[in-house]
Amino acid sequence: MSPVIKKKGEKFTIPGKYLLLILTILCTFLMLVTFGTDLFNRPLNAVVGRVVIPFQQGIGRMGEWFSNRTDELAQIRDLLAENERLKAENAALTEENTLLQQDKYELNQLRELVGLDEQYGSYHKVGARIISRDAGNWYSSFLIDKGSDDGIEKDLNVIADGGLVGLITAVGPNWSRVTAIISDNSNVSAMTLATEDNMIVSGNLKLMADNCITFGQLVDSRDSVAVGDKIVTSNISDKYLPNILIGYISSIETDANNLTKSGLITPTVDFEHLSVVLVITDRKQSFDGE
């Protein structure tokens, strides 16, 4: 007799085996559907936004408060010394600033002449707080406390400390997920600022602890790229806005094929101690379309 058949006076239950089969089919179906589209993400993300995010925001704030207090105590002595040094530096910088402002004035005039717009500063940005880190140990992503209600969409660029942090990969009403460029599944199309040689910058789990990322497929036939060169996002990337600073080359070597080069990059962003990020709300398409 089949175990599914209902007996008199007994509650109707599905045996474990059948439930496993049903849920396996459901999971496979979900994977197939969500691999290409984001059909179910909207309702599910809304649920997550209601249930999980409020707690995480609270705990995140609390944790931040505690770590700030401990940091403050540890840093007071350093700060006193640093203050002295900064005062001296401030004087020098004020002078330099005046000179630079004169230069900037001139630069703006010249830019207007050439018809170029100032790019990096003209992006619209939204500040967001990191409320949660990845629950696993394999990839590096985190959740921020702004979502579609604040005008955030998928594939927007995220920056902090003047450098690229990553890309928005999922959006809920009041939260969104950022996949960091140090994550093993992240690839960024980049170029050297000086020579505009294109390369692919990809994260690597092995180097994540050293706060390092790799680059590869750099065709540098003139041998002009060297250690210390600035790496920025490339013009030809379809998701990343051009000329956002990624980091500096810390080592470079020729590949076994003698055609391309690869090596390591030190990112400008300190991913270990990140608490606030800026999301650029301009998309590449609309930006180019303007």
């Binding site: 599905i14 045996p15 474990g16 085996k17 439930l19 496993l20 849920l23 396996t24 459901l26 999971c27 496979t28 179906f29 979900l30 994977m31 559907v33 969500t34 691999f35 179910f40 993400n41 599910l44 993300n45 649920v47 997550v48 249930v51 999980v52 707690f55 995480q56 705990i59 995140g60 944790g63 770590s67 409320i131 949660s132 880190r133 990845d134 629950a135 696993g136 140990n137 394999w138 990839y139 992503s141 959740l143 990969t169 997920r177 093993d184 599944n185 789990l205 092995k206 994540m208 602890a209």
Partner: protein
């Protein structure tokens, strides 16, 4: 009803702890896997069906927040819960050896499967590195956390079972 509510609180609480508090007290960037502890302990305490359901929801939560597509962790944790449920026949609350062994085995196999599906298939073949730097530390850290979390789960489960028994007697 009460059981469902308590289990939901457990899943949510563990998930939130795992990605906020444990993120900041991680050793060498490794965080313990509380979802595995929950899934397998409810699996061997309560049987296949409850194990697989709890695994499914734990995984789905992880998928919704951090997965690149839905269903991967849900499927993985569901099978872990189901297989742990197979051991519910030889489980005794007084014995700590079987639960520990099951949780460690579950976490190791979770690590192996994650490595094979997410890294090896992308050509990252240095298994020894990933085993010694991710899978093993995670299993060890999870074991340490289990020592504190498992007695709590066991106690709550005993309370719930006693409560259910009382209710049953009342109705009969």
């Amino acid at each position: 009803m009460l059981r469902k509510f308590v289990v939901a609180i457990f899943i949510l609480g563990c998930f939130i702890l795992q990605c906020s508090v444990f993120g900041s007290i991680s050793f060498a960037g490794i965080i313990p896997n509380l979802m595995i502890v929950l899934t397998s302990s409810f699996g061997f305490m309560r049987g296949e069906k409850e194990g697989l359901l709890i695994g499914f929801f734990c995984g789905l939560l992880n998928d919704a927040c951090f997965g690149s597509f839905l269903g991967f962790y849900a499927l993985l944790l569901m099978y872990i819960g189901f297989l742990n449920g197979k051991f519910s026949r030889i489980f005794y609350p007084e014995d700590i050896k079987l639960p520990m062994a099951l949780i460690i085995t579950s976490d190791l196999s979770y690590g192996f499967i994650c490595y094979i599906l997410m890294f090896m298939l992308r050509g990252r073949l240095q298994f020894a590195y990933y085993f010694s730097h991710v899978i093993l530390p995670e299993a060890l850290y999870t074991t340490v956390v289990t020592l504190f979390l498992y007695p709590l789960i066991l106690k709550v489960n005993e309370k719930l079972e006693a409560h259910e028994k009382r209710r049953e007697q009342k109705f009969v």
